[in-house]
């Protein structure tokens, strides 16, 4: 492709001789950050600096390296020619690597020659309960390893790839609608929605708090705008089937379920419905967008009456599921939420007549109403006594429900209670709550107003709901303000269920390489500072897929995501990491071509050639080449060995090779101060598949007491091969008789990660001890492992 620049490779690739490790003298500057005590309270940075004395590097310690003073120091050292390569010891590279590299670039250095060693999330925050000596020794090892690595790597220039100027928005709720409309004036948008109509949960709402305006009145114009916008292509009954390609250039397969009525032809005249004798063909609801009838096949007996009567020839009873493929540069995820099914709460006896969820309650009074917007019991009469039961499945730390607060129930239940009182002034409405959470502009006033309307508030989580023969429901509770148990009979009980990510969120996120939090919602790139970005630079999120929230906040996030998408697409180009394979020697066997999961290699004139833009840098080709002719730039066998050697020289440890997704889990462990053994030393890799027996054997030889491979990616093309990789490595490193382990840890599973590290570190330690005892002959030969 003409628009793509090949990496400006500096050194002519040469096959490295595995036997000798050479580090050319470079002008390396090491900068250590105290992080205002966050690091220096635990790590003795002075002694770390002293340990580098023999290394021929300049060392500098700063209070805050990320501050302008800290950055200026590095910048001026580069400009003065004192240094040309930079090793930073600070917080996680996920936070400031881009900042520092930007600075280095301005100062005239190659940004890839600046790397960060994480001594905060991976040291001071997670080992502060251990002895200072062991933490210091770990940090010294890490920095020494980083210096050796820095001496061995080559300057690279990122590849540029042209972006596809089109966005896929997944989910047609208010968040997705807003995102699509805000992008569409500048960039083309494809909006897909799983349901046969737009609007998400909002179209199923009655009035909306805190202003009590009608939901469909404010939403319908937006839905129509989406439908009419020339920049938006809308597909309903559509989901993502497959994602191929890479950020900025995705090829996405969509799956369209059949509607049996052609949306473009149908004019909603309703002639079909009048002829249909089973009621199978219908308009979802009067304001539905798109305005087109549809068939419920479970009711249809294929009599064909609708086909004949339709004046526009719109009905096709033989319609099948269809597949289409689109090409997009960015994806905005707005798949919203769903209510948890409360039937797991045994004491509430859901489902039962007149025992509904709040979503079902809203439905009855919304545009989608099947009761003519009347609130009614199963027998059709009005419920004179209605109870609202809050926190049904939320705020539960036992594993049965969800830990999180669902945020909107406190307010919407008051809205619903107001509606009951409005429909019948002498009706009773009771709200059973634990804490009335009404933080937010205009919400306390809303609470106050609801109290004035005579709604009865009870502070206490409902203990039991017992459905009676006559359709009423007995509610038992403790009024915690009085410390007294109470029982009350209601005509209708409304459960406010925990709001959870909608089904399919995980599958979609996995396809896009976007991690989820341990609550199942999408993990933001930064909780506070990057709230609508994800770890995938081309994937964004908005609305309740990021956690429960109200319409106002969903709209705000939709607008933010749109801005972020436009900013991303506006650059026209995407930088892709230059750490790609180099083919140093090739006998034309084609093993790498077969091994590459992304079709990035091909044989041309009997030699393997790489398409750098298709390549993800996964490294599978490295161990696949039988003559060791392939290396990943800056992650070559020798570069990794140089790092390992220096890292383990002064003190042994457990070497943990980790990919970027699992690295993020380690960062979260750090933020949560989850302690684990300071013997653990991470080596960050683009993927664990670059490893082969050479590197792992070297780790053991240089003193690793154990080696772990931790993979976090959910890309099946990689994980499906991990078991084989592990078995191969196990075989190839058997002679060392030291523990080797593989584990898959997704970003959210940081607790599992630290548990695992602790267990492994102690096992490796025990094994090493046993071995050394044995070597010393202290133990008789009886104990054979």
């Amino acid at each position: 492709m003409a628009e793509n620049k090949e990496p400006l490779v500096n050194e002519t690739p040469q096959k490295e001789t595995p036997s000798k490790i050479e580090i050319a003298p470079r002008k390396i500057g090491v900068y250590l950050c105290r992080c205002g005590g966050n690091i220096s309270d635990v790590v003795d940075l002075q002694s770390v600096a002293e340990s580098l004395k023999g290394e021929n590097v300049t060392v500098n310690i700063q209070d805050y390296l990320c501050s302008s003073a800290g950055q200026d120091k590095i910048k001026s050292d580069i400009e003065k020619g004192k240094i040309d390569r930079v090793v930073i010891g600070s917080c996680s590279p996920k936070l400031h690597l881009e900042t520092f590299r930007g600075m280095a670039k301005k100062a005239g250095a190659n940004p890839t020659l600046l790397e960060i060693t994480n001594i905060r999330e991976q040291a001071s925050w997670v080992h502060d309960k251990e002895g200072k000596e062991s933490v210091n020794s770990k940090v010294k090892g890490l920095i020494k390893g980083a210096v050796a690595r820095m001496g061995s790597i080559e300057p690279l220039v990122p590849l540029e790839k042209k972006l596809v100027d089109r966005t896929l928005v997944v989910g047609g709720g208010i968040a997705g609608i807003t995102t699509a409309l805000e992008i569409a004036d500048d960039h083309e948008v494809i909006l897909i929605e799983k349901q046969p109509y737009l609007g998400g949960h909002m179209i199923g709402l009655s009035k909306t708090f805190p202003t009590m305006d009608c939901s469909q009145c404010i939403l319908t114009p937006k839905m129509v705008a989406v439908h009419n916008h020339s920049g938006i292509t809308m597909h309903t009954q559509t989901e993502v089937a497959e994602v191929k390609g890479s950020p900025g250039d995705y090829s996405i397969t969509l799956k369209h379920s059949p509607r049996y009525v052609d949306i473009k032809k149908c004019i909603s005249c309703g002639a079909c419905t009048r002829k249909c004798h089973t009621g199978a063909i219908f308009l979802p609801f009067a304001q539905a967008v798109p305005q087109a009838y549809m068939i419920d096949v479970s009711k249809c007996d294929r009599c064909g009456a609708c086909v004949t009567i339709c004046p526009r020839d719109a009905v096709n009873l033989d319609a099948k599921e269809e597949i289409s493929t689109i090409s997009v540069g960015a994806v905005a995820i707005a798949t919203g939420f769903e209510p948890i099914d409360p039937s797991f709460i045994e004491e509430y006896n859901y489902p039962a007549p007149n025992l509904l969820t709040a979503v079902e309650f809203e439905d009855m009074l919304s545009a989608k109403s099947k009761t003519g917007m009347r609130l009614q019991k199963a027998d059709g009469s009005f419920p004179d006594r209605v109870a609202f039961v809050l926190c049904a499945g939320s705020r539960d730390f036992t594993g049965k429900g969800r830990k999180h607060c669902s945020k909107v129930c406190c307010i919407y239940s008051q809205k619903q209670a107001q509606l009951v009182k409005k429909m019948k002034a002498d009706a009773q409405a009771w709200i059973f709550y634990i804490d009335m959470r009404s933080a937010g502009r205009r919400f306390e006033e809303f609470y106050h107003h609801t109290q004035e309307k005579g709604v009865n508030y009870v502070r206490g989580k409902v203990a039991e709901i017992i459905p009676k023969q006559d359709g009423t429901l007995m509610v038992q509770y403790e009024d915690t303000n009085l410390g007294r148990k109470g029982r009350e009979i209601f005509d209708m009980v409304v459960l406010c269920p925990a709001l959870i990510p909608s089904a399919g969120t995980k599958e979609l996120a996995d396809k896009l390489g976007v991690p989820l939090g341990d609550d199942g919602f999408i993990e933001e790139k930064h909780v506070k500072l990057d709230p609508v970005n994800t770890l995938n630079q081309a994937a964004f999120a908005a609305g309740c897929v990021l956690g429960p929230k109200d319409i106002h906040d969903s709209v705000t996030e939709g607008m933010s995501a749109a801005h972020k998408v436009s900013q991303f697409l506006g650059k026209g180009m995407i930088l892709i990491p230059p750490e790609k394979p180099m083919i140093l020697e090739c006998n034309g066997c084609g093993d790498c071509v077969k091994a590459c999961p992304y079709n990035a290699l091909s044989l041309s004139e009997g030699k393997a050639v790489l398409s750098p833009l298709a390549c993800t840098g996964c490294g599978i080709c490295v161990p696949a080449c039988p003559i060791k002719g392939i290396e990943i730039r800056n992650f070559t066998r020798n570069q990794l060995k140089a790092q390992l050697k220096a890292m383990l020289e002064d003190a042994p440890g457990v070497v943990v090779f980790i990919d970027p997704y699992a690295y993020a889990a380690a960062d979260i462990a750090g933020v949560n101060r989850k302690q684990y053994s300071s013997l653990v030393r991470f080596i960050s890799l683009p993927s664990i598949h670059v490893l082969d027996g050479d590197v792992v054997n070297a780790a053991f030889e240089y003193g690793a007491t154990g080696v772990m491979l931790i993979e976090g990616t959910t890309d099946e093309k990689l994980t499906s091969r991990s078991d084989d990789l592990y078995k191969k490595l196990k075989k190839d490193t058997r002679k060392h008789k030291k523990p080797l382990r593989y584990s898959h840890i997704e970003t959210a599973q940081y607790e599992k990660l630290t548990d695992l590290l602790n267990v492994f570190a102690s096992q490796a330690g025990a094994k090493a001890e046993k071995k050394s005892k044995k070597e010393k002959g202290e133990e008789a030969s009886e104990e054979k492992v």
Binding site: E347, F397, K461, E478, G483, R484, Y742, D755
Partner: protein
């Protein structure tokens, strides 16, 4: 009922910490006072403090009130509160922890008396006897006289057998009692060590290991 103002002197942090470290107390600090425990409790209306209030009082270290409360004796150990608590607190276990402490502290009330008589009867005969239990308790508890007609009715209908069943050989039982008297209360209140944090190996790696 007179309610004392809570002042620093009424709070006993050592007591609080002891209970937190006892079985079922691990999550005690996370109680959000939701009240599902008390709402579920079949006998909370008989208690002078509901299970929820007990948890709150323990959090504050109100040792005197907690140990003097009839709640710990009224609890039927039905576990309704414990299975429903959204924070994983086990009020039932707390009651079990508090009983021996109350006994050790010499706190006397009706319910403690009942428990003691019950234990006595079992100790002597090796079996429980409803007749002995009721008659002994009635003698020590004057209010029980009002129940006499009901008791007679039960006897007349054969629902309260007068015969006293005895165990043939009570030696084993005796040794249990003497053991419990020796170690009894200490054992109960002894702080249980938390199990070590390290969980078993995760399954992926074990599988891979194979």
């Amino acid at each position: 009922m007179q309610k004392e103002t809570i002042i620093p002197e009424s709070r006993d942090n050592a007591f609080r910490d002891l209970i937190i470290k006892s079985p079922g107390g691990e999550n005690l600090l996370t109680c959000m006072q939701c009240g599902i425990c008390a709402g579920s409790c079949p006998v909370s209306h008989e208690m002078d403090h509901t299970p929820r209030q007990m948890v709150r009082m323990i959090q504050l270290g109100l040792k005197k009130e907690v140990l003097n409360s009839n709640t710990i004796w009224i609890c039927t150990t039905c576990f309704s509160c414990s299975v429903r608590c959204p924070r994983g607190i086990y009020p039932t276990e707390l009651m079990e922890t508090l009983k021996p402490i109350a006994i050790k502290e010499g706190i006397k009330n009706r319910n403690a008396k009942f428990d003691n008589i019950f234990a006595d009867v079992v100790k002597k005969n090796g079996r429980a006897s409803e007749f002995l239990l009721i008659s002994k308790y009635s003698i020590s508890e004057p209010g029980m006289i009002a129940q006499a007609p009901f008791g007679l009715e039960l006897i007349s209908k054969g629902k309260l057998p007068l015969s006293i069943d005895k165990m043939d050989d009570t030696r084993e039982l005796d040794s249990i009692f003497s053991l419990s008297e020796k170690t009894g209360s200490e054992e109960k209140t002894k702080i249980k060590e938390k199990p070590p944090e390290i969980k078993e190996n995760n399954s992926d790696s074990q599988e891979a290991e194979k």
